[in-house]
Amino acid sequence: MRNFNRQLQHLNKEIQKMIEILNGRKPIPHNDLLRLLKEVIYFTENQQLLQESTYKTIFYGIGDAVIITNAFCKIQMINPAAERLSGWSSFEANGKDIDKVFRLVDEKNKKPFIYPYGEILEKGKTVTIERHCLLHTREGTFIPIKDKGAPLYEENGKISGMVIVFSDFTRTRENEQEIERSKGYIQSIVDTVSDSLLILDSDLMVLNANNSFYNLFKLSKNVVEGKHIFTLDGGRWNISELKDLLEKVSREDTIFKDYEITFESNDETSYNLLLNARRIHSDSNTRILILLSIQNITEVYLSKRMSKILEMEIETRTADLNTANVDLEAFSYFVSHDLRAPLRHITGYINLLKRDFPQQISEKSTHYMETITESAQRMSQLIEGLLEYSRIGKKSIHKYMTSMNDITNEIINVLKNETKGRSIEFKKNNLPFVYCDKMLMELVWLNLLSNAVKFTQNVTLAKIEIGFTENETEFMFFISDNGVGFEMKYAKKLFEVFQRLHSSKEFHGTGIGLAHVRRIIRKHGGRVWAESKPLKGTSIYFTIPKQENKNDKQA
């Protein structure tokens, strides 16, 4: 009896503990609960001495579901938590076979799962179903549960029944699934990002690498995972500064950012890599992991360098161009001053000779002197043409809507006056307004019309026609004559500086007029070309882009 009292005292203490746990809503360790229940039942059934209220508090108040059966699997007791979970009331459940109420199915295939009652009742084992199974409730729903089953003993050691404790596992399962999903999600991110990622442990062993890493460095999983980073790929990653940085991250929970290295890969490709590393927390929070991200910035690096080179190139070119411009100006200055002076002197002294010695100079000498003068004048004209050509090059153009009719009419009138002895038939269609520099365009028409007049000088009736066609983007003007013409194989030469297709004896001119024309048309964004047949005549065509700007002033 003394023994019994001591046991009862012990039990009361345990129950007190349980109540504290219950009040504190702490999870009750399964094993403790089972042990306690066993003891409770032992007292209930065999000693009848347990205080009713304490017993009820535990059995009815506990959050876990509890079912107690006899040795024949018939339900003896079922607590409210078990009622709630299974959907069976204690009234209905009592006396039923346990597998009618505690119906389990396999989580995966939903097939009935037979609980190992034999193990408990015959072998006296405590069992837990390791794999997840679902409780098939009375309402037909399935609830994931966690369970434990244990035998109950009579005083003589004979198994008198069993107790099954189980609890709703839904929340935990959902959390687990959520974690699984997150893991998968994270894994897919890790695998998808273009940056290469390495996960190292605190000893800098590679735990994991992503696809980008394998692809970039052409390595396979088995030579990377589980290896020390500095042994990877023949020790290519054994870079002393990287070592310092990684060890610091591992030791001090610092991060390092944007550390740039040049990396020679095993196929001798050189990469520019940007490295970032930081500590990350493992599942258990106790293990130190290091995430090393490797960004391949080779292309960025190259394009940066390329653009720097290009920039420098442009700078050099601009400087060259400026020098060339300065040189050109100096040259023009030189030409206009120094080259003219001797010509001026030649002409001047010839004039003095003629003035001072009119009697002494023979007819032949006069002819010589005239030739000298003409040559000097011609040289002067060439210089003037060259200077004008360079001036057009330098001139900025001022474009307005300009009447091509006005320009051509004016020039034709001037030319008619200058060629009064000749028969020239000018035919002109109505010409449009064009967005161009008026002064330069006058020079174009003056050159083209003068050429047409000049190269028809041997024709009895000269015919000169000007007109235009247009499309959506540009106007095309033409001027045709029936003059001397030329062979088409020389057509390209026509627009070059000082190129002549006829001797200056036949046709006067410096050979620079069409070079002017081409320069001006090109400055306007147009093209110029010629078609010709010897003795049949020449057509010169040029285009001027249309400008859709309606706000422009008319000139």
Binding site: S336, A341, H345, G348, R355
Partner: protein
């Protein structure tokens, strides 16, 4: 009358040009004395009477070549226009070309006219006429 005529100052470095200009002026029986100096430094020395000129007299007009050694025409013009006693002197620039890039700066600096070489007397006279100083240049009747 002749004594009262002021001289013409020709500032020109090229001997051929000097000769041709003098011949051109002679052709038209110019009555004015022509004083020739060879660059801007000499011109300023004359104008400021700092040299050993026995018969120094401020000219009626200065004919100033642009391209010269030492002090060129533009620099000389700038000096003349800065000088209180000289700035009212009429200055005619002698240029090689009508398109002379320096012409604009000459006008900006206060040049009164320009004449394109070789100097044609008629052109010179018309330039001078426009200056309103034609009275100072006398065309002597030929003997």
């Amino acid at each position: 009358m002749i004594n009262k005529l002021k001289p013409i100052l020709l500032v020109e470095d090229n001997q051929n040009d000097i000769e041709l200009i003098l011949e051109a002026l002679k052709d038209y029986n110019l009555a004015n004395r022509v004083i020739t100096v060879n660059d801007g430094v000499e011109a300023l020395t004359y104008l400021r009477n700092e040299g050993e000129y026995t018969d120094h007299e401020l000219p009626a007009v200065v004919l100033l070549d642009i391209k010269m050694p030492r002090l060129n025409g533009i620099e000389t013009l700038r000096e003349i226009k800065k000088d209180k006693t000289l700035k009212s002197l009429p200055v005619v620039m002698l240029t090689s070309s009508r398109e002379e890039p320096d012409l604009k700066s000459c006008y900006d600096l206060g040049a009164n006219a320009y004449v394109v070489k070789p100097v044609d007397f008629r052109e010179f006279v018309s330039a001078v006429k426009n200056l309103g100083i034609f009275w100072a240049i006398i065309n002597e009747t030929p003997h």
